[in-house]
């Protein structure tokens, strides 16, 4: 075995700064495989940091920053998706800074800062061909003012490994896919045929749904309020054949587990089919829900 060419780990990292309502593209060179070698990417991580003009907790900047990911011309996300809708959470929804996804620092710096950490463990490792790049673009919501002040600093990292030199290019590459539905706040909303859909001509293997509820705090959205999980907001889902996925209107946090904000299951969605979500109880401009669909499809490399 030629040990000097073994499968070694690899992490690529880039950073952007976003003003409120702004957008940016992460440095593609920094996110490209060194030496133009093929790599496998297993995980994408984001850290979003900002200063605070007033103490805040329980809000995550992951709701306020969206990302669009492509590899070459191939979509990984359908448009821009809020970062917190890409991976399940590992912390509970709580106002306390010790427990939620965003961590408040008041111990070291005079200006309080808040850092949100999110990650997406890809449903299947993604094979990135030599010479191609997994590109990340970012967009920050215009409703991301106080208590946040100044720019957001977003770090994106791809974690994976080098492909072995003798490893052949796979005949089929499993390409992750994410789509999101972001309805306007209203008493009763229904998703459309293009929102939580399989737009491809191949089956889409659905891994999970991620459901997030938030309210505004100050003049900013993204506050994951615990009280929203107490039954005020309910959800029902059907597929495009009319079969029930969530049969009756169910408390949002029952459908999308309160701790992980996700419902993980295995289902194959046929080409051009879709899921329809019905959500009730979003009345009031302060309530926002986002439901995302995470999966992968096989693309033939030729």
């Amino acid at each position: 075995m030629n040990y000097s060419c073994s499968r070694a780990p690899l992490l690529l990292n880039a950073s952007v700064s976003l003003a409120s309502g702004g957008g940016a593209v992460a440095d593609a060179v920094a996110l490209s495989s060194p030496f133009r070698k093929p790599v496998w990417i297993n995980e994408i991580r984001w850290t979003i940091g900002s200063n605070l003009s007033a103490p805040s907790n329980g809000g995550s900047q992951g709701a306020l920053v969206s990302t669009q990911i492509k590899v070459g011309r191939v979509d990984i996300t359908r448009g821009f998706i809020p970062i917190w809708n890409l991976g399940p959470s590992l912390q509970r929804a709580d106002g306390g800074d010790d427990y939620s996804e965003s961590i408040l620092d008041a111990a070291t710096s005079n200006t309080q800062t808040q850092w949100a950490h999110h990650r997406w463990l890809l449903p299947r490792p993604l094979y990135v061909l030599p010479g191609t790049t997994l590109s990340s673009s970012f967009r920050r919501s215009s409703t991301s003012g106080a208590p946040f002040s100044g720019n957001f600093t977003i770090d994106v990292a791809y974690a994976g490994c080098y492909a072995h030199p003798e490893e052949p290019i796979p005949k089929e590459i499993a390409v992750p896919f994410a789509a999101v539905w972001q309805p306007a706040s209203s008493a009763y909303v229904i998703s459309g045929e293009l929102d939580l859909a399989n737009p491809f001509l191949v089956p889409l293997h659905v891994q999970r749904f991620i459901g997030r509820l938030s309210a505004t705090f100050g003049s900013s959205a993204g506050y994951e309020e615990y009280s929203l999980t107490n039954g005020n907001v309910t959800v029902m889902m059907k597929d495009s054949q009319g079969y029930s996925i969530i049969k009756d209107l169910t408390t949002f946090s029952n459908a999308f587990d309160y701790l992980r904000r996700a419902w993980t299951f295995q289902r194959t969605l046929a080409p051009k089919e879709w899921y329809t979500a019905y959500v009730r109880g979003l009345s009031g401009a302060s309530r926002v829900c986002t439901v995302s669909l995470i999966g992968w499809r096989n693309e033939v490399y030729s």
Binding site: S4, N13, W40, D98, S109, N110, C161
Partner: protein
């Protein structure tokens, strides 16, 4: 005599067969380690009481700090207990660690808030689920020894446990067994009000063996401590340090980039798990090779709380296994 009942005969299970292996085992030993000192545990407590071979599946540590017996106040010294105590593991003449590895550098975290604090005591729990069960021959023991690194001025108590299973009397191990291994690098302490750099040695994150190590994970921790009398110690908070100021770049001994450009510690090692998981991906560290970690500590972008002298250091570790002839 004619049997009246058909079917399996109701009998008491053969007691000797029942006790011939495959039973779960939980072995525990404890010690209190004074500051800047080392200590061992009672090794007999960690042997299979059946006198047979066993397989260890998981190693767990509970680390505690008694406020009443030390000069620090309740609330101080919490959250960094796993970094204040190092553990070395040895199976016969086979090292399972590269010297003393901080207890929190073996496994992944599952909670931002790892420490339980009362008015008298702070506890933290850590565990290392081994990549493969570790075969321990009859009469053998995985011997731990501990080092209180002096990060905190006080005694640290530790309970170490092995979750294992007893093996049958005539069990023969396979031709090759998977032997776990862990190594760690602890950087110098950085004053968080100023920039600085540090580099790991060739012997820190190294594979000293003739076999490749299949990596299970890499871990990254950033304890932040105040040197004030009524100081504090954080690992989950002090976030600008881990998320912005402390950056790491890693290359292997062939010059190949592992972390290509400087990345914040919380990006290199996911903030929520404090780890970069590699299990099941057949990621390999070559024989007689090492990883070199370059630390770059940036000056803070915001002013530091006045009056505090605050220090941070980086703890980077890896775990994995190698295959050894039994």
């Amino acid at each position: 005599m004619q049997r009246r009942f058909k079917g399996p005969s109701p009998t008491v299970p053969n007691a000797e067969t029942l006790l011939d292996g495959r039973l779960p085992l939980h072995l525990t030993a404890s010690a209190t380690i004074p500051s800047s000192s080392g200590g061992n545990v009672n090794a007999v407590s960690l042997k299979n009481p059946m006198g047979r071979a066993m397989e260890i599946l998981e190693i767990k540590w509970q680390v505690r700090f008694d406020f009443g017996l030390n000069t620090l106040r309740p609330g101080d010294a919490t959250f960094v207990l796993g970094g204040a105590l190092g553990c070395r593991l040895q199976l016969g003449d086979m090292p399972l660690t590269n010297g003393y590895v901080p207890v929190w550098s073996f496994g992944r975290s599952d909670n931002l808030q790892e420490c339980v604090v009362s008015s008298t005591r702070a506890y933290s729990e850590y565990s290392w689920k081994l990549p493969f069960p570790l075969y321990v021959p009859a009469g053998g023991v995985v011997l731990p020894s501990f080092q209180n690194r002096g990060l905190l001025s006080g005694d640290i108590g530790v309970i170490i446990s092995y979750s294992a299973r007893d093996l049958p009397q005539n069990y023969s191990p396979p031709p090759k067994v998977a032997v776990p291994y862990a190594a760690a690098y602890v950087s110098k302490p950085f004053d968080i009000s100023a920039a600085g750099t540090d580099v790991s040695n060739e012997t820190d994150l190294a594979n000293p063996f003739d076999e490749p190590i299949v990596l299970q994970r890499m871990t990254g921790r950033v304890p932040v401590l105040s040197s004030q009398t009524s100081g504090f110690a954080y690992e989950k908070s002090g976030v600008p340090v881990a998320a912005e100021q402390m950056n790491v770049r890693i290359v292997d001994s062939y010059g190949r980039p592992i972390i290509r450009d400087y990345a914040p510690m919380r990006q290199a090692f996911s903030a929520l798990t404090r780890s970069w998981e590699m299990d099941g991906q057949q990621i390999v560290m070559d024989p007689k090779s090492f990883y070199r970690a370059y630390m770059k500590f940036d000056a803070p972008s915001n002013a530091i709380i006045s009056g505090a002298a605050i220090y941070a250091s980086g703890h980077i570790g890896f775990t994995g296994y190698r295959e050894v002839k039994s």
